[in-house]
């Protein structure tokens, strides 16, 4: 990547972030909350895409990392009175540790076996969150708003119930994850990951220890997913085991596929579109899972590259 190319990419991503920042002044209240939610979920999808898009490892168990972040942040706030910053840190740490432990075991397998193993570990995590319902409160979950101290900046203090805090908190998280993803994509490590995605044997032949790179990618991906989960718990004041269920492992896959696997901005586009598609569909039918199912089948049959992937292939080959 030449210096000018990198500058153009950075400018594009900063422009998208600036647009998201400015949107909060124009959006009506309902969409304001929706977009805040979309940005947190898109950060989750960005994390997912690091593993699927850059490294070529498809996981069906990312909900456990999201939920690890959610519980890692939520439980200390609920029981130990942690503040927002330390809770976020605890959430990310929980996700990173879980991803590392999971990777040490699951990365011994590859391809389809890895998929099944990730699905089952996530299910064990989900069942454990139900089994220990005296602590986690199971699928009923718990509310954080009355336990979480407001943020204080200097003399002013703002609570997490403020829409502006939700929106900008979500934007900060998304920006951090997006730029981390972009940075990783353009770094030498990202090149090695893509080499592994394209041909693992060849990458190994060139002397790269593919196991360590895959583990690194999994840990970063799990950490980002956990950051999104922790932020979700803090910003939307709720943690519950629904977020550990299989559906929440399928969602980031769907969002990433829709937006474009292996594109940096695809997860945002996919998450936003799918969010509003389900939102509109649930206006006149309760069968929103049908939308999810049909979208998956249609994407895999006719648009395997997703929206940005198709745009990149047709018109903008420089898009990351």
């Amino acid at each position: 990547m030449s210096g000018r190319g990198a500058a153009r990419l950075l400018a594009l991503h900063l422009a998208v972030l600036a647009l998201l920042f400015l949107a909060q002044f124009a959006l009506p209240a309902y969409h304001h909350t929706n977009v805040a939610r979309i940005m947190v979920l898109a950060a989750y999808a960005v994390g997912y895409n690091i593993l699927l898009g850059y490294t070529g490892l498809m996981s069906l168990g990312h909900a456990m990392f999201f939920a690890a972040g959610m519980y890692g942040a939520g439980l200390p706030v609920y029981y130990l009175g942690f503040g927002a910053a330390s809770a976020l840190g605890a959430g990310i740490a929980a996700g990173v540790v879980l991803a590392a432990l999971f990777g040490l075991m699951a990365l011994r397998t590859s391809g389809v076996s890895f998929l099944i193993v990730s699905l089952m570990f996530a299910q064990a995590f989900y069942l454990a969150s139900l089994y220990f319902n005296e602590i986690t409160l199971g699928d009923q979950g718990f509310i954080l708003s009355d336990r979480l101290a407001p943020l204080s900046v200097g003399d002013a203090s703002v609570g997490f119930h403020e829409p502006a805090v939700k929106y900008n908190g979500a934007l900060l998280l998304f920006a951090a994850c997006l730029l981390l993803g972009l940075g990783l994509r353009l770094s030498p490590i990202g090149r090695v990951l893509i080499a592994i995605r394209e041909n693992e044997e060849r990458a190994r032949l060139l002397g790269y220890d593919s196991y360590r790179y895959k583990l690194l990618s999994l840990v970063v991906s799990g950490g980002v997913a956990a950051a999104a989960g922790a932020s979700y718990a803090l910003l939307f004041s709720y943690a519950g085991s629904t977020f550990a269920s299989i559906l929440f492992s399928i969602y980031p896959l769907l969002w990433t596929l829709l937006g474009g696997v292996g594109t940096t901005l695809g997860p945002l586009i996919g998450t936003g579109l799918m969010f509003y598609l389900v939102d509109v569909a649930s206006g006149f039918t309760s069968a929103y899972l049908l939308v999810v199912g049909v979208a998956l089948v249609v994407l895999i049959l006719w648009f395997p590259q997703g929206i940005l992937g198709t745009i990149r292939a047709r018109w903008l080959p420089w898009l990351p």
Binding site: R108, L115, A124, L127, L301
Partner: protein, 292 residues
């Protein structure tokens, strides 16, 4: 009840579970072995079998007639559905491993939602076709559960016969060993694939029909058999029929014992961790070659 009889009950329950699980997992294992694809909608075929059994029972007067009707109609309907899925989706993406997983996840949600809309969210019971109690000195045991085990054993034997004694079975084993070579010798790969996919679905549907009198039919009931089948197929080695059967009994009986003595949730967690253990020691499963 003292420990001995309690354990005996647990083993009995586990054995019945193991037989049903063996039928379900064998369907998944055949599809994986021959076609090299993972059917995530397998549990929904199981669920459809159970729901169709309820429909059959409500159409026909006596439980025994309803059961026999369901044993034929449910696998037939589900098999036809699987053929359609093979033709319309899987063949078009050329059985790409990861594409198939995504597509069958889509199919999972489509089927689940369709059943929720048409059948409703309730769990509905079906009365067993035969009703008698086996009396042990310590407890009475439902005779129908033993019928379930017997029919499952018959189904397993039928699949074994199909695999080892028929031309279709020969085609299947040839396609599993080396698809290109099999095609060179005139094995009709497309037809074999479609048949295997339908056969796998029909086995799941038959297992669903069998458990309905024990479990009730519910639109979310497909998840547990799917995950247990995954566990079985991984422990047994992906694509190995012998491994699948052995693993079904290990998983089924241990699931029964832990469920009776502790809790079903804990049993599922234990089974999953068992898989982790197996994978750490042998990434290809206990009976698998290096293919996994």
């Amino acid at each position: 009840m003292s420990f001995g009889p309690h354990l005996f009950l647990a083993l009995l329950e586990g054995t019945v579970t193991a037989f049903v699980l063996a039928v379900t997992a064998l369907g998944l294992s055949l599809v994986f072995g021959v076609m090299r694809i993972v059917n995530v909608a397998h549990g929904e075929f199981f669920m459809l079998g159970a729901v169709l059994a309820w429909f059959c029972a409500s159409l026909v007067g006596t439980p025994i007639a309803g059961f026999l009707f369901a044993m034929i109609a449910a696998p037939a309907v589900v098999g036809a559905l699987a053929l359609a899925a093979d033709r319309l989706i899987l063949r078009r993406i050329e059985y790409h491993p990861e594409g198939t997983i995504v597509a069958t996840i889509g199919l999972l949600y489509i089927l689940q939602q369709a059943v929720l809309t048409l059948y409703g969210p309730d769990a509905r019971p079906v009365s067993p076709p035969v009703y008698f109690t086996l009396t042990f000195p310590w407890f009475g045991y439902s005779g129908y559960k033993l019928v379930v085990a017997a029919i499952s054993a018959l189904l397993l034997a039928a699949v074994w016969w199909l695999l080892t004694r028929t031309t279709l079975g020969l085609y299947m084993r040839a396609a599993q060993q080396d698809l290109e070579m099999a095609q060179a010798f005139g094995v009709p790969a497309r037809r074999v694939y479609a048949t295997v996919f339908a056969l796998g679905a029909m086995l799941a549907a038959a297992a669903g029909v069998l458990v309905v009198p024990i479990q009730q039919a519910h639109y979310l009931m497909g998840l547990d058999p799917l995950l247990l089948s995954f566990i079985v197929v991984i422990i047994g080695g992906l694509g190995s029929v012998k491994g699948t059967l052995v693993a079904a009994f290990v998983v089924g009986i241990s699931d029964g014992v832990v469920s009776v003595f502790f809790s079903p949730t804990l049993a599922k967690i234990v089974a999953t961790l068992l898989v982790a253990g197996v994978l750490v020691v042998r990434p290809g499963g206990l009976f698998g070659g290096d293919r996994a």
